[in-house]
Symmetry: C2
């Protein structure tokens, strides 16, 4: 997508140095556009853990890139399998909720371990990383194509008045490689000349709505309005949103959706007020081994994310303390929305209900692998 | 209530200067404790409008004090009735949602206009202002007494484990004169040795939860934990809150409740998860002329409240910008929670259901005055 006049993705292989993966360091947006070069699995781990990169699809691809970088610093060759397995465990521990992370690392590990030499491992890893990046971009494009008719239909009903879409957090191109998941149908509608307007919810404590989604939409010229997370109930109650679209960090077979904390409140208010709520779900965010959202591990993050707000003042990025010193904090980063509250999923294979049978209809090859208990 | 070792109320008549009303300037809490002296209706208007004081009961009392101060700067005596009526209209326009404001101003105006001379007007105004303050304190004390058994009962069920109470915004003593509405039963339970723990929700955009409620509870030694507004759905879903208590800015006859933006989302999540939700309602926050919450005017406040976060950095109060420059904002300050989502009201006359008949049972003298259409 465009940043100013230049086209960017969130992650790319450095064109001149095969031992470098470049990413947009999202901690400084929207105040500063910074690119960070990653050289080692440890740097990748920190970039994921500390949210230089975030968003389930991008976390997956970045972790896969971490496995690729691991091949440039192995110990002696006969220990390389143990080294890679250790790096895989390490990378998978960076964050617990997004299923993309472990899936992507395991995918890389399988490809790498089939190759007989380090040289061939690097080639196999790079080839699969590039294929994975292309697949994730393609997933988003297809989610856009399948989601577009939903917006078109509302637009027809509203006789061309702007379609008001509420989203939460950032499930835009910054959360993926390009296009985004929840935003893909929005960008596609906008580009097709359908008037759309996006309610951007702040998404405390990390403010990905205000920092990232607003920035993305502004760069692309899509009309948007900032609202506090608190205001979203009022907006849904008053008929000011025609639909809700969010992303997901992990979707289970029964249709439950773990997503950024606050998604559940929006889903319950949308359901109560008859507003359609779609989740954009690339298949890489579906946990085929998990039946029920209650089993999804919910990450608890630092108290200081809640105690402070990150922003911009005096010409630089700056944090301010919001509460009395040493106040205790509970900071769950995700919540689980039951599938029964959702209108449906927009996937790269089409639209389905948020339930097991309809999900498996779209992905017939994905016979779920059930872990032994 | 205590601030350090000293007992305070939010507003008081200056002991040495009858032309001064003192208030705690709440804009600087929790970082700095400042007292502001108000001398004129214009200063009172600004203090309400710019939220030096806030909270429906305190807004009412402060506006009443504005009428009292108006008596020290009248034009010549034969124009005093017109002057007072003009000041009343002016003060009532400071904020639209809390019904306490217009009720309190009208109450003062009625008392004042019965007196034949300016001197007697001042005496009548002062006497009624002091009575009004005493009544509001008494309302809160009684709300505490009626609410206490609700907490005691949960405590017995939990065999003395802490009762977890979720609140929103600040309906504490800082919103009133003393004790608070939603907090009164909590303080009373704590003082009676019942273990309580309060989930304090941030309450963006003005952060009254983190700034005021957390500060109050900390001063009084009540255990609390900060959570983002987004986290409250997860807390209610996971059974981590035993009950919810909030305040109200205006309650209508059918039991609908206008309160700080975000209350509706908590109520809908509490209802879905079977968590009792009580609203602490002093009768001064009941609009006896309004049948239905849909008619309540919802204040929209400045875009900059949402674009910026106020906090503390480098040893001083400071704001940081949170989003791209010039982002459009929608900032409704209140939402309306339908009475059917609520378990009940805690009033100074006892507990009732959030519905017309049960409300009028508690207040039999209050035959509703229906405005001519």
């Amino acid at each position: 997508m465009l940043v100013g006049d230049k086209s960017y993705q969130t992650l790319w292989l450095h064109p001149e140095d095969e031992q470098v993966i470049s990413v947009i360091d999202q901690r400084f947006l929207p105040f500063e556009f910074r690119v960070e070069d990653l050289h080692t699995p440890a740097e990748v781990f920190m970039a994921i853990r500390e949210m230089h990169v975030r968003g389930a699809p991008l976390i997956g691809v970045t972790a896969a890139a971490g496995m690729y970088l691991a091949l440039f610093q192995p110990p002696d060759e006969k220990e390389i399998t143990a080294w890679l397995e250790e790096q895989a465990l390490y990378l998978k521990s960076a964050r617990p909720t997004a299923v993309n992370l472990s899936m992507a690392v395991d995918r890389q590990l399988r490809k790498i371990l089939l190759a007989p030499t380090v040289e061939e491992m690097r080639a196999a890893s790079k080839e699969d990383l590039q294929a994975f990046i292309a697949e994730e971009i393609d997933n988003c494009r297809k989610i856009g194509e399948y989601g577009l008719p939903l917006i078109e239909e509302i637009s027809r009903h509203k006789k061309g008045n702007p379609v008001n879409i509420l989203t939460h957090c950032n499930a835009g191109w910054l959360a993926c490689i390009d296009f985004g998941t929840a935003t893909a149908p929005i960008y596609m509608a906008h580009d097709a000349g359908i008037p759309v307007h996006v309610w951007v919810s702040e998404t405390r404590p990390r403010n990905q709505g205000f920092r990232l989604t607003a920035w993305e939409l502004k760069q692309h010229g899509v009309p948007y309005t900032l609202v506090t997370d608190n205001a979203c109930g009022h907006i849904l109650q008053k008929g000011m949103a025609d639909m809700v679209i969010t992303g997901t960090d992990r979707t289970t077979l029964n249709g439950d959706v773990a997503n950024k904390i606050g998604t559940y409140l929006k889903a319950i208010a949308a359901k109560a007020n008859g507003v359609p709520f779609y989740v954009a779900v690339p298949s890489t965010s579906i946990d085929w081994t998990m039946d029920d959202g209650a089993a999804i591990p919910i990450e608890e993050r630092s108290e200081n994310e809640v105690r402070f707000a990150d922003g911009f003042a005096n010409g630089k990025a700056q944090a301010v303390r919001l509460a009395p010193l040493h106040s205790p904090v509970f900071n769950p980063a995700f919540d689980v929305t039951p599938g029964r509250l959702l209108t449906g999923f927009i996937t790269e294979h089409g639209i389905c209900k948020a339930e097991r049978d309809d999900l498996l209809r779209l992905f017939p090859g994905k016979v779920p692998y059930i872990k032994e208990k």
